[in-house]
Symmetry: C2
Subunit: 327 residues, 2 copies
């Protein structure tokens, strides 16, 4: 059973509950290995659960035209495992000690092991996708890994640069987040034999939900009390990463803006606080939520040509859920 879900998420996952349980079993089965060195690593990464939103997306899109096959479950497991692999490398690159309240692989076993174990899981996820027997989804999966890696590379090279165009921001969050939502949704549709128009409609749903998901994440980074997410408020800025609200602040207040000073001297007090106050005293948060709602509405819109069914209801509810997430 997927851990830590609230009632609304449980309702969204209902049509694919059985498939999600199979995904969970397949993830846990990956702990069986003939290589003793890998055992504690696999246990650590595969036993701690997660919200499983990406595999749920694959199973839900596959459920519009359900074929009697294991392929969507293999695909969904591969998608989740890829997500877990990227987290290991991201934590290594970001020097993050914690992941979901537990120690990160890099903090517990060192960066060397984290690099190699991430590689191992990337490849393991690809073998699961190969199990679908469908070369189109395998290729999409490989291209997605290129997008994820290049998104992180772009973010790394853009860090502490206060001049970033909005188009570059959207490209970056597509690569690092929305691309895997696209793949999750698109491949479920492909593997259930949906026609091309339906595949593209579900891909568009994944894209819009993924973009909304990342913008909400950007907003959550600026809100709440330290510790709620295990990260300090304004952590993105402290890491030199511009997000939608901070790019809007730079656009609207080109003069006497605290962000360039913050990026020049991240350790110095005051600039982060001033940035947060300026954002909170503006319409920026509300404007960002408007953009989130637009993405979610576009996601729902993409579903209109698809047959009404339990999966479509779930995807609509999911869009509503992201639309109102922590708002």
């Amino acid at each position: 059973m997927v851990q830590g879900l609230d009632q609304q998420a449980i309702a969204i996952y209902a049509p694919v509950q059985e498939g999600l349980a199979q995904v969970e079993d397949k993830l846990l089965a990956l702990r069986d290995t003939t290589i003793p060195e890998l055992e504690p690593l696999l246990n650590h990464v595969l036993s701690h659960g997660g919200k499983r939103v990406r595999p749920a997306l694959t199973l839900l899109t596959a459920n519009f035209f359900p074929l009697d096959s294991e392929n969507p479950v293999n695909m969904a497991t591969g998608v989740e495992l890829l997500h877990l692999a990227t987290l290991i490398h991201d934590d290594t690159v970001d020097d993050a000690d914690l992941r979901r309240g537990n120690s990160s692989v890099s903090s517990r076993w060192g960066k060397q092991v984290a690099v190699l174990f991430g590689d191992y899981l990337f490849a393991a996820s690809a073998t699961l996708v190969c199990d679908t027997g469908n070369l189109r989804v395998v290729r999409r999966f490989a291209e997605n890994i290129m997008e994820l890696a290049s998104g992180e590379i772009i973010e790394y090279f853009s860090a502490f640069n206060p001049r970033q165009e909005m188009t570059r921001y959207y490209d970056r969050i597509y690569r690092k987040t929305a691309s895997l939502f696209c793949t999750a949704a698109e491949t479920g549709a492909v593997l259930s034999g949906a026609d091309e128009e339906q595949v593209q409609a579900l891909r568009s749903y994944g894209y819009n939900i993924g973009m909304a998901f990342q913008v909400v994440d950007d907003l959550l980074d600026l809100q709440g009390q330290e510790g709620e997410l295990g990260k300090p408020v304004g952590n993105d800025l402290l890491q030199g990463v511009l997000t939608l609200p901070t790019i809007l602040l730079l656009e609207r207040y080109p003069v006497d803006n605290p962000i360039p000073a913050l990026f020049r001297e991240p350790e110095q007090d005051g600039n982060l606080q001033r940035t947060l106050e300026m954002i909170n005293n503006s319409t920026i948060i509300a404007d960002c939520f408007t953009i989130v709602r637009d993405y979610c509405d576009q996601a729902t819109q993409s579903l209109q040509t698809l047959p009404k069914c339990a999966s479509r209801d779930s995807l609509e509810t999911l869009a509503g859920y992201v639309r109102e997430r922590n708002h």
Copy 2:
């Protein structure tokens, strides 16, 4: 044109010269990117050449039963790119400053970029393999990445442990080196439509050549003058890595052996020198070369059931070349 080959290698590559030129073109074409951040990285890694022995193996095994198709060239390019990607992560993990006389990606751009750029190239190599349209070779490729990563993980966890069984050593060098030679040889055969017996014969050739290749590498690490290979003599031992000659020394001289002391205090002078002297005063080097020759002879033996052709001559010459490499 492949750089830095001697006359014998040029003769070995002769039957697949055209294919290798296409591999080179495909590698260079990967420098074209819409992502400006990647340009210097791609230039650095793809412009510096290499011996290209793995892609040559794919093209030679594909040449027994040549089909008119680009598939072996795509596969060979994918195999070489995977090799380049693993080198980037290996240098990151090993803290290596140099690679083929140039700065390593991790020393020039930092470990963070090296991790992410390695991921990007892993995925890019997989898309080239997807271009073959053959799911069997894609799956083999993904499994190979698991073997490569697990081989490095095993090596990492075994470091500075003077008690290692010979079977574990052979498993480790299969994973970290011979597995990619297997894949290179096997996939060329699969993509040229060879029958299963022939595929297995060529896979066996790749296995044996790969094992021989790694044992020779182990021996070269103990020989020559510092600087010839860009690494100090005995570098493996200094990194805590046992190889065939040093495991043999531990087996034959269980009492008063300098290796455990060297592993306890790698910085202390004397133990490395004593280890090298003990090896040189024994038959160990000669015994290791006997093992190399056995692998090479088995490689040649695997070719006996295959039709005589220019490729077979080349593979036989290659086995002879590895057999006598620096000996």
